[in-house]
């Protein structure tokens, strides 16, 4: 697993707009080339952070997908089911349409974060009144995201097209213009949350049961769901601030891994984290290679692959699998 990860990592560093030899990448990483070289500059300052970010975001989205599927007791849930994407989209739309992003680059992730926080809190406040029944949570998430997306549409309809274009790229998930200064912060947040969630794998398992049954095991449902919900939301929020809304990773990776390692989250969470960290840089490389020299937003690639993946799964399965 680790070896695969390293191979993909290097692969992602090698391929891009400028073809760079494999040896050169290794040399650049190990610091054997003089710093004035432009290739080294590209690798160290553009591709390396981008690849690290792709790994971290891939792992984060996969893990938060696992957690949301468990707490919502629904295999079709993903990190964006509870309306986080809607809130983020509104924040970003506001940032672009009102031109905040020209003030400083930090404004876009910041606005996205505020939008997400609002949507998470709204969903939480609705859910807490209904004791976190999974149906209520999903319903409120869907409603919240509809309200936010219509607000986004409204903003787009009223604003000039060039700002809409940039905001739009951001909304489908794009690595090309993220801010490296965010990298350390986002890495720490996501890795810490993944480690915490891995430790609580058995608690996540218990939440998969009907509420009645979990209660009789002496588990405090509301407390555990609140904790898991916020931890997973923080991961999602961090990924969205970094590179927008990348669809399907949080749905597809946990699904595929569940087929392999089973439902036990003690194994599922770390395995999903690894596969996500492996899969997203691969998609990112594809997004740069496919229509080279144009690099397309990564969200297009993941949505395409995800769509085909699920069609194949549905055609192959005997129908018992989506319950």
């Amino acid at each position: 697993m680790l070896i695969l990860l390293i191979i993909v990592f290097l692969f992602s560093l090698v391929y891009g707009l400028n073809e760079v030899s494999f040896i050169k990448v290794l040399k650049a990483l190990l610091g054997n080339v003089s710093t004035g070289d432009t290739v080294v500059m590209i690798i160290k300052q553009v591709r390396l952070p981008r690849t690290i970010m792709a790994c971290i975001v891939g792992a984060g989205l996969s893990v938060s997908g696992c957690v949301f599927q468990a707490i919502l007791k629904n295999p079709l849930a993903d990190p964006f089911t509870l309306g986080i994407s809607g809130g983020a989209a509104l924040g970003v739309a506001i940032a672009f349409v009102f031109g905040f992003q020209s003030v400083t680059n930090f404004f876009v992730p910041f606005c996205a974060f505020i939008g997400m926080a609002i949507s998470v809190i709204v969903v939480y406040l609705v859910s807490i009144r209904r004791r976190f029944s999974s149906k209520t949570m999903i319903l409120s998430g869907v409603v919240v995201s509809y309200i936010f997306s219509s607000a986004v549409m409204l903003l787009f309809a009223l604003s000039p097209s060039n700002s809409v274009q940039t905001a739009f790229m951001w909304l489908i998930g794009d690595f090309s213009n993220f801010d490296e200064r965010l990298l350390p912060f986002i890495t720490v947040v996501i890795l810490a949350s993944i480690i915490i969630l891995s430790l609580f794998g058995n608690v996540i398992n218990a939440v998969c049961f009907s509420d009645e049954k979990s209660k009789t095991f002496g588990i405090h449902i509301a407390k555990n769901i609140t904790f898991l919900f916020f931890t997973a939301s923080i991961i999602t929020a961090a990924t969205v601030s970094a590179c927008g809304i990348i669809g399907f990773i949080g749905l597809m990776i946990p699904h595929a891994m569940r087929k392999i390692v089973g439902m036990n989250n003690v194994f599922l969470i770390p395995v999903s984290a690894f596969s996500g960290a492996f899969f997203l840089p691969l998609c990112d490389s594809l997004s740069r290679i496919l229509f080279s020299p144009v690099s397309i937003p990564i969200g297009i690639i993941t949505n395409m692959i995800g769509g085909f993946f699920f069609v194949c799964l549905l055609l192959k399965s005997d129908g018992t699998y989506i319950k």
């Binding site: 295999p75 058995n202 009645e212 009789t216 095991f217 089973g262």
Partner: protein, 263 residues
């Protein structure tokens, strides 16, 4: 020992149980019977602290259940609901039974050596060791019911509550399951509280019965006291004959269809 003191309960504003009072003693095999929708399951849920009664209290060993934390409570009373949906749960049988040990585990819920020993012992007791690595959603109805019982036993409680443990099982599996419950009751001093639809099964296995009617207790006592023609006919609104089983000397109930009556 359990004490139910003047409990009224229901869902939202629909009152189902009205001022129920009764006592469940040590070594009781306690059956709750009555028509569909009369509040049997509701009563069990109140006992298991899953529904908060509108008024009245429940005491376990003379202590009000409101004063126990969920975790403490889970070490005293285990509950097996009527329907546990396992169709989407692809845990192995061993992992599944281990959930019953949660009240004894630390914050990360990682099983200790003792948990393994307990689970192993229970699997031997129920003769399901050969199923340990199977997936829970691939088992037959009878096997699944045994696994669910194993999970409940893993909680090592003195009181175990079952909501219709034998519904939709064939008579072989049904006797198997009830035999296990009787063994637990007689040889391991567990208090068993359960709801049953089959009056003859209730008569055969339970030493105490409570017959519910419109959310109140119609009759409470031994099977001989509770299963009498007059009360059963009124509560279930059908004609019956009550006889004594020549071998077990317990009452048994035969229902009469309309045609027979006319003849």
């Amino acid at each position: 020992m359990m004490h139910i003191d003047n409990v009224s309960a229901g869902y939202l504003d629909k009152e189902i149980l009205k001022s129920i009072s009764c006592k469940i003693n040590e070594k009781d095999f306690f059956g709750v019977i009555g028509k569909n929708g009369v509040g049997k399951s509701t009563l069990l849920k109140v006992l298991c602290k899953l529904i908060k009664p509108y008024s009245g209290d429940v005491f376990v060993n003379c202590k009000n259940i409101n004063y126990f934390s969920r975790r403490e409570f889970a070490k005293m009373i285990a509950f097996l609901p009527q329907h546990v949906d396992t169709s989407s749960l692809s845990f192995s049988v061993f992992e599944f039974i281990a959930f019953g040990r949660y009240p004894y585990m630390n914050i990360f819920k990682i099983p200790s050596g003792k948990d393994y020993v307990v689970i192993k012992r229970i699997m031997d007791f129920l003769q399901i060791t050969n199923l340990a690595q199977r997936k829970i959603n691939e088992l037959s109805g009878g096997e699944k019911q045994k696994i669910l019982i194993a999970q409940v036993l893993a909680q090592e409680t003195d009181i175990i509550v079952f909501d219709e443990p034998t519904s939709h099982l064939d008579i072989g599996s049904q006797n198997d399951i009830l035999g296990i419950l009787r063994d637990l009751n007689e040889n391991y001093n567990k208090i068993i509280i359960l709801t049953l639809h089959d009056l003859n099964v209730a008569s055969e296995f339970c030493n105490k019965l409570v017959l519910l009617e419109n959310g109140s207790i119609c009759k409470y006592g031994t099977p001989e006291e509770v299963l009498n023609c007059v009360d059963i006919e009124r509560v279930y609104n059908t004609e019956v004959i009550v006889k004594i089983n020549p071998i077990s000397h317990k009452p048994y109930v035969l229902s009469l269809s309309k045609k027979v009556e006319e003849r």
